[in-house]
């Protein structure tokens, strides 16, 4: 598999504190890599390091196969864009002027493509409105448009939906999916809004206290998050007998609850329980989501 970014035993130390500690990760080309972690887990520090804003204390990373200390790294960085924390925009300029400024920084010969970029992020009709008067969502989209100026192959977005309203979140999600599918841009997205990330990401990296706890693809995650039916009954012993007779896999949760895995015929199950004088109080389908998986992985008690 071809990787856009690989990090090996990366460490970032601030005085006596390791913001990133022995972190290794690989981002496959064409993926949307969701970096999951609570506040202070090291997500933003990792973003800053791979964007070249900070140097790692130990370890290293490669970008498009080029080691970060190699001379060619500056050339390779042209192939990436990023929005780290807040969008980097000149507030006293219009959206168009901001893009023109970035075109000049990139040394692009003409302003061709600016209208297309503004249309892509939905800012075509902002006219002479200064960026300081933009809503948070508009600023975020302008930040992404600036990051897209050099037609990058890799885009790193740090908390792109933080503070956005529901419509803003949908807009950003659709934009990311569009850029990934139509322009084959690889994404690294950090977020602690797991439900949002679960709708986008093709790969996940779970980070905690600066460590990469686990890397997993979306399909592997789906397989790991097994679907089940949770039953609440009056007699869990009777339920156990019935489930054994039906050859179903299950786990007892409490004195009145059990999770049943695999296909369950509800009618057959309820009739069998009725024969055992066991009443079914409630029944609902349950599948472990990204949030549960994450909490199980890093320990729920420590979570905010």
């Amino acid at each position: 598999m071809e990787y856009v970014l690989t990090a090996n035993a990366l460490k970032k130390q601030y005085r006596h504190f390791y913001a990133i500690n022995n972190l290794s990760m690989s981002i496959p080309r064409g993926s949307i890599y969701g970096l999951v972690g609570k506040n202070g887990s090291g997500k933003t520090t990792l973003m800053r390091v791979i964007c070249g804003l900070q140097e790692p204390t130990y370890g290293g990373y490669t970008l498009f196969g080029v080691y970060y200390k190699a001379k060619a790294i500056n050339k390779v960085r042209r192939r990436m864009g990023a929005v780290v924390e807040t969008p980097s925009i000149y507030l006293d300029m219009t959206a168009e002027d901001n893009l023109k400024e970035q075109y000049r920084v990139l040394g692009l010969p003409s302003y061709e493509g600016i209208d297309e970029l503004l249309g892509l992020v939905g800012l075509s009709d902002t006219g002479k409105k200064k960026a300081r008067n933009f809503s948070l969502g508009m600023k975020q989209r302008l930040g992404i448009a600036i990051a897209l100026c050099g037609r990058p192959d890799f885009l790193a977005l740090d908390e792109p939906v933080n503070g956005l309203d529901p419509q803003g979140i949908v807009d950003i999600r659709e934009l990311i999916i569009k850029l990934n599918r139509e322009y084959q841009i690889t994404f690294l997205i950090s977020s602690h809004i797991l439900s949002e990330l679960s709708r986008l990401a093709t790969h996940f990296g779970f980070i905690d206290k600066g460590y990469m706890v686990k890397e997993i693809s979306a399909s592997e995650l789906e397989a790991a998050c097994r679907k089940c039916v949770r039953l609440n009954v009056t007699d869990v012993n009777a339920l156990s007998r019935v489930l054994d007779n039906l050859n179903l896999e299950y786990s007892i949760i409490s004195g009145c609850e059990a999770d049943v895995y695999g296909y369950v015929s509800v009618t057959e199950l309820v009739m069998a329980l009725a024969k055992e004088n066991c009443e079914v109080k409630s029944i609902h389908e349950k599948d472990e989501d990204l949030e549960n998986y994450y909490i199980n992985l890093v320990g729920g008690g420590a979570n905010e």
């Binding site: 800053r48 960085r77 990023a82 980097s88």
Partner: protein, 278 residues
């Protein structure tokens, strides 16, 4: 670095503060040109008396401009856009230094053009030796470079726009006061009269000349002169007050400005290269 310079200059020409300071600079040129005409009534004023007066006020103008212009790179986070796409930190630092130097020189030029045209019309053209004039001009340009280098290192290392701007302005004020203090020390007379009387609102002095204990001997005096030449406001004062006479150490001033520029720029670039940016 050409790309960064193109982007920086484009931003400069849209910067309102730059145009406001340039206009203010031209206004000072206008006022001093008219003042020169007033002086001409009392004695034979010549245009070169205030021709380098910008060397005095540019210290403050540069502090305000560099602090705000470079500080906004951090406050907007725009400096990240340059680094993320692979511009080296040295190039970013130098491009910022060059654009600030150009901006401050343009402010000086605005003063110079207005003052020179008005002064020429009112009191006539230059009477100073051309070589000396060019020497003073070069000295003033290097002084502006020294100022800009000092403010660039401050603005590039302090990531808060407000703090950086305030530090630049306070530093100018501190240097100015220190230069004034040194100037005062240098101008203490060697001897003073042994009596003075202020009877009937008339001050009279005379008698035997007494050695002034506050006067500094030759070694002390040389040190104070060196400090006065080293301090940019000290240089600015000397260039702006040619009406009092020519500059004593014409070769030392540009060399000291170059020293300040090299020391601040090299150390600034090295520190900025290692700086953790957010």
């Amino acid at each position: 670095m050409n790309k960064l310079l193109a982007a920086n200059f484009s931003r400069l020409f849209k910067n309102k503060l730059f145009w406001a300071l340039t206009a203010l600079s031209a206004l000072i040129g206008l006022l001093l040109g008219l003042y020169l005409n007033t002086l001409d009534i009392y004695y034979n004023a010549v245009i070169e008396h205030f021709i380098f007066y910008y060397a005095f006020f540019i210290g403050l103008f540069a502090a305000v401009f560099c602090g705000m212009f470079l500080g906004s790179e951090y406050s907007n986070g725009a400096i990240r856009n340059k680094l993320i796409i692979g511009h080296s930190r040295y190039a970013v630092y130098l491009a910022n230094l060059i654009v600030c130097l150009a901006a401050c020189l343009m402010m000086c030029l605005a003063y110079f053009i207005v003052y020179f045209i008005l002064g020429s019309l009112l009191v006539g053209g230059l009477v100073i030796d051309t070589g000396l004039f060019l020497g003073y001009l070069g000295t003033s340009i290097l002084l502006v470079l020294a100022y800009v280098s000092i403010y660039t290192i401050i603005s590039m290392l302090i990531t808060s726009k407000a703090t950086g701007s305030v530090v630049c302005i306070i530093l100018f004020i501190v240097l100015l006061f220190y230069a004034m203090l040194v100037y005062e020390k240098l101008n203490v007379p060697e001897y003073y009269d042994n009596f003075t009387s202020e009877a009937d609102d008339e001050v009279q002095s005379g008698g035997k000349q007494i050695e002034n204990p506050d006067n500094h001997n030759n070694t002390d005096g040389a040190v104070y002169e060196f400090i006065f030449d080293l301090l940019p406001p000290g240089q600015g004062y000397q260039l702006s007050s040619l009406v009092d006479g020519p500059i004593a150490h014409i070769w030392r001033l540009p060399l000291l400005s170059l020293f300040i520029t090299l020391a601040t720029t090299l150390s600034g670039m090295l520190i900025f290269r290692r700086k953790n940016l957010k």
